[in-house]
Amino acid sequence: MLRTLLLTLSSLLAMARHRPWEPLLIMAAIILANAGLVAVLLINEGATQGELLQSKQGLTLGSIITPADSRTRFAQSDYATLRKQGFTQLVVIAERDITLSCNGSEPTATTLTLLGVDTQPLLGSAFRKRGFEAPAQNDSALSLSYLSQNAKKFSEMENQQTPAGRELRSNSGGDFAVNGLIHPLTNAKLACHDTLNEIDRKSAPSPYWPATVSAYVSSFAPQNTILISIDEFYRGGVTIENDEPVKPVIPDNAKRAQEKQAKQQKAYVPLSGFIALSSLSHQHLTQIETLLGIPVKQTTSNTDNDTGSLPDSFRLNLWAMSGLMGVVALFIVLNALNLMYRTRLPNIIRLRQLGISQRILSVALFTELLVYCVISIPIGMFIGFQAASWLSPVINGTFTSLFNAVFVNPDVNLLFTFGFALTTTFISLVVFSLVSIIKLSNALTVAPAKKENALGQFAVGLISSCALLLLFIAEKFVSSTASALFFVALLLLTSCALVLLWLPILSKLLTRFVPKQWPVFHYVIANMHLLSSKTRLAVCAFFIALTANIGMNTMTDSFRDATKHWLTQRLYAPFYLYTDAPLRRIESLSTKSLPTLALTPLLKAEGAVIGSHAQEETHKEIHRETHEVSNSPPSYVSISSYPVHQNGKKALVLDDVINNDLNTVWREFTEGKGVFINQQLAFALNAKLGHTLDIENIRLRKTTNSSSSAVNTSNEAYSSPQDKTTDPTQGSQSSSSNSNVFAATPQWKVLGIYPDYGNLNGQILVPLPSFNRNDVLIRDQLFSGVVAIYPEPPIETNVIGDNKQSTFGKDILEQQLKSQLGEHREIALYTRQALLDTSMQTFDRTFVLTDGLNITTLLVAGVAFAVSLTVLTIGSAAQLSVLRALGVSQLKVKVSLFAQYLLLCFISALLAIPFGVYLAYVFIQQVNRHAFNWVYPLSINAEVILSSVGLSLLIVSLVLLLPLGKLKPKIDLRQEVQL
């Protein structure tokens, strides 16, 4: 039994060796499919892990108590006082910047924050038990040995491995060991970094801190920090107070200690503040102020970096693509199997005649497939791994720039992946081989020739219009990213079915138009009609790939166009300055500079939108609506300034304007009678033009340095007048601190909706003069660090799209700015063109991935086509022989066949164009709308579509040359087997 099986198997393998192309093709398909599968699996895994890590943050620096006056600092005794008074939720922190580099080499340097935290309170049960769902798994195993060292065991420890983490040696030596924590994402960003340098501030020398930090990877640490105990933070030359004497610690080593001290350089690092593990009420803050005798403030920042569903939809997209690739690969396998079994048929019959049972035969066939799987899956996986690691920088870039999310190099179980790939591939192979076998055995059984019951043109038309109608109806039900992608799949399948219906009809139609004077050509067309039913699978594969390709390219191109157009219009000034200088310095610039400059700063604040309602409703209804929305959490929006001068008006890109009357709207905007909101916000709130937004808690943005204060604004003062009168309960939430964000609060009426590509969050544009004009401090904090600069008076005709102002000289301006703002200020001056270029480069980089996948899909479709062609040529050998017998030259036969298939492709390509465009529309209006909350106009670019079609036809024709070249259109009677 086993022997028979082995013999059968070896004869099958011998057949494979005899005709190696089909098995190789199968293997190639398996490799391709697996490479895609593994790459997608890895990429998705990386995205998931990155997302998980990002959501996991143990210690957040969200709420920090600092002295209100930034010049005063907390002392150690202040901390003790507060804790002794029961403020045990406060934990002191101190920070200083350090750089990490590889062997101290400059180019690799990365700046991180060394964060000293009083870790003692965190050990307490209050934190331990409440803070973490799974507290100390090994409580019992812990012992006080942590407290003390046990050098006795050193020798035994030498052979232990190092866990994940890194060892960082300070540049001032490594005289004491410190354990630190580093967030996995921060760790992922570091490569060979092993040297720790204190940031060399000009004012103070680099302190003496000879530590060796063992940084363990833990998501407890905030990102971009190395968390150590504050005890270790203040060691060596790092002290809190100026007059701290350096105490010799151990008497018998006093000499050594003194030597060390001689080398010591001191640095005074003040306490940064107290982290509040739970946020404190005003009452608490007052209590703290009384205890410490200095005013304090609580900075609360919204540290939730909500990545939303973006990485999700990215993953979904990837899965969809890999699914597509898998389907196409299966087409190849199916075709190859068909071909292989077709050619093996005579031998199989012989085997049966030799008495080998059907069961053994099928087991042998499956074993053969398994052999192919086992050989090719590892190769595929290897390629997949390579592809994933090659792609990961690109993906990383995409994630950072697009989603504000992180991507980590995934850590996957190799064995599991292999098992998964093997099972999936083998099962689908078996299923597909069954299909071919059944097809084959059907061919072997004698059946009366079926009359082809072709559907009439009318019926086909009816079915098509029904299908299209259903598709349009289905589109209305799309309400989420997932359903949008499902709709994409539905669209592809439906269009595929329609193509299969229409292809015979179209080819038949063509037959009519071809004059009979050209018999060979006529034959080609007529035969194509026949072929069209046989090449279904190949045509499907080609069609889907091409449609997807056209759809994707059109979408990307539309996006690119929209972005470029939008950017070009929005960037109205010739220069943009990015600086950390305070606004008052910037504003004094314009008067000092040689050519008078007009400066428009960008001011930003934050607010929480709790909903929107139509303005002209009755009081009752307004109340109802606000009640409704109060259930959903408020969404935080950024409130940005927008200039009210003519350039601003010109630069304004609005999708939607009340009454389509830009001039009126602009006037209202400048008068503070309304605001513009971005699409994202409009979609999220379902806000319409003319609606009024309910905004509360307007405050200053969190800035990068932690010194910005949170100014809580009362809802009463800043919500629209309507709110005040209709919903008095909201007013009662007003807090005691008053805000000065606005000089004159605008009405929150939606005057227009503008596109804001690439933004994830809601944004509101408020006229610049509405912002506070008097309070210098507030203005500095409102200032986002970006200033638009153009020569004064603005030459209106020249501002947009004219390069004249470049002659003004970027270098001159930059030097001028530097000299006026001071050398130590960080300034970056960009010309409008440079900004545009950078943006578009980023954009193009982002879509590299899509391009790669597109081409792969097309290639696979081409291969599928070629294989099915080979099968067909075997089938049509008889007809070709007749042609040859009629005296048609071999070349002519080949050319005609080539033309035939190319024509078939061409027709399906023509059909793919409308579907591709429709697909692009769905991508933009449905997928993008739901995944990203913004849409952009669809721009159909003939060039893009034609290049897609051209490329695909090129691939197909190249692929076709292969089997056609081999083709011998004559029959060798000796080989003909009587079936």
Binding site: A141, L142, K152, L181, S278
Partner: protein, 454 residues
């Protein structure tokens, strides 16, 4: 140095580096720690004590406990920072007017983490030199002492427990002499009078006031923020953490004494093994009257009862030879007091052998109503477990002997000790059993039992 780091790393390998443990390591391995890889006690559920302070290593760098150096009060109420380990231990058996019974504990521990450079190591001279160098890098934040506070209240149904840590030298954890004050954050025990008197019956420590608030409400449910259960630690912390006035239990007790301080052992020199290799300075105040209020989850209860104070400091207990102890402080109904313990120790031979048996040293102090102390030596006291309890606290189940028989024939004492309630387990960083017990037999009464190393 690398050795140190590597060995620290093993900690992580073994404990699979969960967040908390990593933290612990950061905080505790102030100068880098190493750990004995062999003596991890995986055998839970056995009745053999496994070492309370585990692998903490004693060292010659700390001041040793010497026979002849007697305890002197009130001087020795103070902290002894040169010793490795020290604790001030208060336990109370309290009753409310309505008959409710309580067991209350307040403990302050001090560990010296600074002087721990072992100079006796022979293993690697170069290493130890480097280790020593460690201590020459000035410490500008703390003084190298670490403080740990435990607070525990047992009602008939509930157990409230909280553990706190603080660095010494920062200002929120210390023991002061004048007036006598122990502080860790807002847990304060403070003498009512400032004058330091001389003489053995110093009242420097008493009368005093003990105030502390701790614990988490037992009826607490996860708070939903915006309709979702808080996802991150910080989220839940912000909801659950105690802001002033939010602790479940608030204690305010006035303490006074009605008898003398008792210097245990030989004038305060207390041996824990027969050969005295484990030893400490140890004195007690078993005659404490306590009255005051307990506020438990908003319900204020007036309570009164007896208290027991122990102060002990040593540099010889925190090592792998000290496997744990079964320790009793009992208030007998005739006014006398009994302190008794069984110390489980290991010697070098035992360590090398595979057997789990340890050397047991038993001793007791019988304190008559008038304060006269009598040491009962090992031959004349028998402390035997009579029943075991399986405790499912934390993740692991363990078995501990919670019922005992203590016999001192020459005093006609034959006591049967039963726990006040089940599972009086403090699930702290170094978990141990600390609970109120009820006494029957030749005498009745109540007291406290501490079981460590299980």
């Amino acid at each position: 140095m690398t050795n140190q780091l590597r060995s620290t790393n093993t900690t992580f390998l073994r404990f699979k580096a969960n967040i908390f443990l990593v933290l612990v390591a950061v905080c505790f391995t102030l100068n880098a720690c190493t750990e004995n890889p062999k003596d991890e006690n995986e055998t839970l559920g056995t009745s053999t004590p496994n070492g309370f302070f585990g692998n903490m290593q004693s060292s010659d760098a700390f001041t040793p406990v010497k026979r002849g150096n007697t305890v002197e009060l009130p001087r020795d109420h103070m902290s002894h920072p040169d010793f490795q380990l020290e604790w001030w231990y208060l336990t109370f058996v309290l009753s409310a007017e309505d008959g409710q019974e309580f067991g209350l504990q307040y403990t302050l521990f001090r560990f010296n983490t600074e002087l721990d450079a072992p100079q006796s190591t022979k293993a690697n001279a170069e290493n130890s030199a480097e280790v020593n160098a460690n201590n020459h890098i000035a410490k500008n934040w703390s003084d190298g002492q670490q403080w740990m506070g435990h607070a525990s209240l047992h009602t008939a149904e509930q157990h409230y427990f909280e553990e706190r840590f603080a660095s010494g030298g920062v200002g929120n954890a210390y023991v002061n002499q004048q007036p006598f004050t122990t502080v860790i954050d807002d847990w304060v025990w403070k003498a009512a009078q400032a004058e330091v008197q001389t003489g053995p019956e110093s009242k420097a420590m008493f009368p005093s006031v003990l105030t502390f608030a701790f614990g988490q409400s037992s009826t607490h449910h996860p708070v939903k923020i915006n309709g979702k259960i808080p996802a991150t630690a910080a989220d839940s912390l912000s909801e659950l953490n105690d802001t002033p006035g939010l602790s479940a239990v608030k204690v305010s007790l006035n303490l006074d004494t009605y008898g003398p301080f008792i210097k245990q052992g030989d004038n305060g020199y207390s041996k824990k093994t027969q050969d005295e290799r484990l030893r400490s300075y140890y004195y007690s105040q078993p005659f404490i009257n306590a009255e005051g209020t307990l506020n438990i989850e908003g319900n204020s209860v007036k309570v009164a009862g007896k208290g027991w104070f122990d102060h002990e400091w040593t540099s010889h207990l925190a090592n792998s030879e000290a496997m744990g102890w079964d320790w009793f402080s009992l208030h007998l109904d005739d006014g006398s007091k009994l302190m008794a313990f069984r110390m489980h120790a290991m010697n070098e031979n035992m360590k090398n052998s595979t057997s789990k048996h340890s050397e047991i040293f038993t001793t007791a102090s019988y304190i008559a109503e008038n304060g006269a102390k009598e040491i009962i030596d090992q031959a004349n006291v028998s402390i035997t477990p009579t029943a075991y309890e399986t405790i499912n606290e934390g993740e692991s189940a363990r078995s501990a002997p919670t019922a005992w028989r203590i016999q001192i024939p020459e005093k006609d004492i034959d006591l049967s000790i039963r726990p006040f309630k089940e599972s009086q387990w403090n699930n702290s960083l170094f978990p141990y059993y600390e609970g109120r017990v009820e006494i029957k037999g030749s005498h009745s009464g109540s007291g406290f039992m501490e079981l460590t190393g299980y």
